[in-house]
């Protein structure tokens, strides 16, 4: 896992600030720019000015939850890879429900997070990560 040459951005959406800090810490260290958002509404605002290569999406959040965010994204014609990151037991089912590209169950392993991030935001900057449901 090398350092990305161009600063690819990753949108991290989670209502838990310590998770946001953690994701920022990890991904910044890997050379990504992290766009933090505490709920779906904030995330949508971020998307107005930025174009990340990946959305790490918590599902249960106040104001606008994961489902609401996903449908709002669809309504706006935004097509971005989404990885559901949740502690809920039905992580896989929820990911399928909102048409996410992958999911990561909390607590996740660092290497699993890095693997999934690398898949959608390769160090080369190529964003055409493999399509289809994986993981």
């Amino acid at each position: 896992m090398g350092t990305v040459t161009r600063q690819a951005a990753i949108l991290a959406v989670d209502d838990d600030p310590s998770i946001l800090d953690l994701l920022t810490d990890i991904l910044t260290g890997e050379g990504y720019r992290v766009l933090p958002a505490q709920n779906g509404a904030e995330a949508l605002r971020v998307l107005e000015g930025d174009r990340p290569c990946l959305v790490l999406l918590d599902m249960r959040m106040p104001t606008l939850d994961g489902w609401g965010f996903a449908s709002a994204m669809r309504d706006r014609g935004l097509k971005l890879p989404v990885v559901v990151v949740t502690a809920a037991e039905n992580a896989r089912a929820w990911a399928q429900e909102i048409g996410a590209d992958a999911y990561l169950a909390k607590p996740f392993q660092l290497k699993d997070l890095l693997r999934v991030v690398e898949r959608f935001c390769p160090p080369s900057g190529d964003r055409s990560g493999s399509a289809g449901f994986a993981y």
Partner: protein, 617 residues
């Protein structure tokens, strides 16, 4: 045949019938009461026969016959009093007066015969007075009785009343011959009334008895409908109260205490101890033999405890077993202070009530058991919900801790900070173990609630196994995987990974560091098969039946050396079951263990999985 003749015939036939029945009863079961009743009705029957014979033909010993009839008729009031005394109390002075009256009758008739009107009138008045007194006593007794006894006593009272009236009217005929027509008819009517009333009182048809029992039984059953809401003690108290009231006696119920193997009385009326185990007590005999019992005298039937019965004023006892199907619940015991007037009715009624009591008590018992089961279920659900909620809440902070620790490890390794690295690695190991425990607790709690979700999809068991065995882990180099070709089926990939990972981790944990672990995956007989073999410490035979139970750990496992809380195999079993497969284990202590798993290839969860079988080698 005139109406008068018809009435006479009815009366005569009835008297004969009652006489025959009562004599037969006294012969079958000679007690003071049955003999007194047989004497009274036997005497009337004899007078009837004699009267009939005299009317039909000239008899050679007509004088003798007339004399006998006279003697019997004179004795009848006294016999009737004896019967009445058997049923109820008669004050001693009255007994003496009647006895004196009898002596006077004998003397008067012996002296004057029936020729002197005054003497005859005396006998008539004496007879009528005694009969009406006895009728009054019977009415009092009926008033204080219940159920069938009340009705039968009422009929007996009517019989005595009619008898007294018949005699009195016959006496009027003597002093007023002009009224002969009227008095003869009235006497006839009263005689028939007396005969029929006595027949109903002493030998009622079964249909009538059942009809008489109905109101008591209905009262008993309508109480019963409200009883399931009461406690068992309330039910027992209520039933014994109702039973006692129905029979006009004291009653108690003993409930079988299975744990202590004794009959426990709620209220013993002082006749038996509160608890009765194997003994000579009548209640125990009935409970053990499961046959109802009537004894006219408890002291005589159980001499060992005679004093107890006597001090409690208990004479006759009626006991019936309370039994629902095969379940012996107790006994219903009715104590009287004097012999029951109609013991066969009373015993039948006690049996009937005991049967009803059995139904009610069994119902209560089942409701209690169901409630207990529900409470246990509810407690288990609350516990599972708590575990689930707690484990879930642990996940969020664990996410930060696990990933942060791994990040620290990664950076320390990258920057060559070896001094810190060992400590950080320890932190990573323990946090990983902690998050695994939380996962296991959650899965076990889901399994317990029957809610371990699986999402089967077409897949290759061999590919999943290869992926799991290729994972980076301590001892990964010891794992050998043997598979030929794909093993297609419907699998929840996540859960199958968890299953194989668990089995592999177990094998690594419980076998020496240099020994190989073999993971085999193959298809056979349209089932997908998987086995994980180690050459480790094995499972002691006594642990074999419990391998897949919750919180079970091998008795030969050093718990300080090997971490874990004993949920892994329980979860494995659940995952396999959810896939409609089977898991079992073969093991020999010191030689190693093989876990076998089979899955139906067609479809997961097609039918409920049979229990995993354990095969000891």
């Amino acid at each position: 045949m005139t109406a008068a003749e018809l009435l006479q015939a009815i009366a005569q036939v009835t008297w004969l019938a009652i006489g025959a029945v009562e004599i037969a009863r006294a012969v079958r079961r000679p007690t003071r009461t049955t003999i007194d009743i047989a004497l009274f009705f036997g005497a009337i029957a004899l007078v009837t026969v004699e009267g009939r014979l005299v009317a039909l033909a000239e008899l050679p010993y007509e004088d003798l016959v007339r004399a006998t009839t006279l003697v019997i008729v004179i004795a009848l009031p006294y016999l009737l009093l004896r019967v009445t005394r058997d049923f109820t109390t008669v004050a001693m002075p009255i007994v003496r007066v009647v006895e004196l009256g009898l002596v006077a009758s004998v003397i008067l008739i012996a002296t004057f015969g029936t020729t002197v009107l005054a003497a005859t009138l005396y006998v008539v008045v004496y007879f009528a007075a005694v009969a009406i007194y006895c009728a009054a006593r019977a009415v009092t007794l009926a008033g204080s009785s219940y159920g069938v006894t009340r009705r039968r006593m009422g009929a007996v009272a009517a019989g005595s009343y009619f008898l007294g009236m018949a005699i009195l009217i016959a006496g009027i005929a003597l002093v007023a011959p002009g009224l002969a027509g009227v008095t003869a008819a009235l006497t006839q009517i009263c005689t028939v009334g007396s005969a029929i009333s006595y027949a109903i009182g002493f030998t009622p048809p079964n249909e009538l008895r059942k009809y008489w029992q109905l109101p008591e039984l209905r009262a008993f059953l309508s109480r019963a409908a409200a009883l399931p809401r009461a406690t068992m003690d309330e039910i027992v108290d209520d039933l014994s109260e109702v039973a006692g009231r129905a029979l006009g006696a004291r009653s108690t119920i003993a409930v079988w205490d299975e744990a202590h193997r004794v009959l426990r009385f709620r209220d013993t009326v002082g006749a038996v101890p509160p608890e009765v185990g194997p003994s000579t007590f009548l209640s125990w005999r009935v409970f053990e033999g499961q046959r109802s019992l009537y004894v006219p005298d408890a002291s005589a039937a159980n001499p060992a405890n005679a004093e107890l019965y006597r001090s409690a004023g208990v004479g006759p006892v009626l006991i019936a077993p309370i039994t629902a199907g095969e379940r012996r619940l107790g006994v219903l015991e009715v104590f009287a202070s004097r012999e029951p007037i109609f013991e066969e009715d009373d015993l039948a009624f006690v049996e009937l009530m005991a049967q009803q009591a059995a139904v009610i008590m069994e119902g209560r018992k089942l409701i209690d058991e169901a409630a207990r089961a529900r409470a246990v279920e509810e407690a288990a659900r609350i516990k599972e919900d708590f575990v689930s909620a707690a484990a879930h809440d642990l996940k969020t902070p664990l996410t930060t801790i696990v990933a942060q620790a791994q990040l620290l490890e990664r950076r320390a390794a990258r920057e060559g900070r070896t001094a810190e690295l060992t400590g950080i690695q320890r932190l990573v190991r323990e946090t990983t173990q902690l998050s695994r425990l939380v996962e296991e607790l959650l899965d076990a709690s889901r399994l317990e609630r029957g809610a371990l979700p699986i999402q089967p999809e077409p897949g290759d068991l061999a590919a999943i196994a290869r992926e799991v065995t290729a994972r980076e882990r301590a001892g990964a180099d010891r794992i050998q995987i043997v598979s030929n070709g794909t093993v297609a089926g419907m699998y929840d990939p996540e859960r199958i990974r968890q299953l194989i990972d668990n089995l592999v981790e177990n094998a690594l944990k419980y076998s020496p560091a240099e020994d190989p672990i073999e993971v085999r995956v193959w298809s056979e007989d349209s089932t997908a098969r998987l086995s994980v073999t180690d050459h480790g410490i094995g499972i002691p035979p006594e642990d074999m039946p419990h391998v897949f139970e919750r919180f079970r750990r091998g008795s030969n496992v050093d718990h300080r050396k090997f971490g874990g809380i004993g949920l892994g195999l329980y979860i494995c079993h659940g995952i396999v079951e959810q896939h409609g497969g089977r898991v079992w284990v073969e093991s020999a202590p010191g030689r190693g263990t093989v876990f076998h798993v089979t899955f139906p290839v067609s479809a997961a969860r097609e039918r409920p999985a049979s229990d995993a079988t354990m095969v000891a080698s």
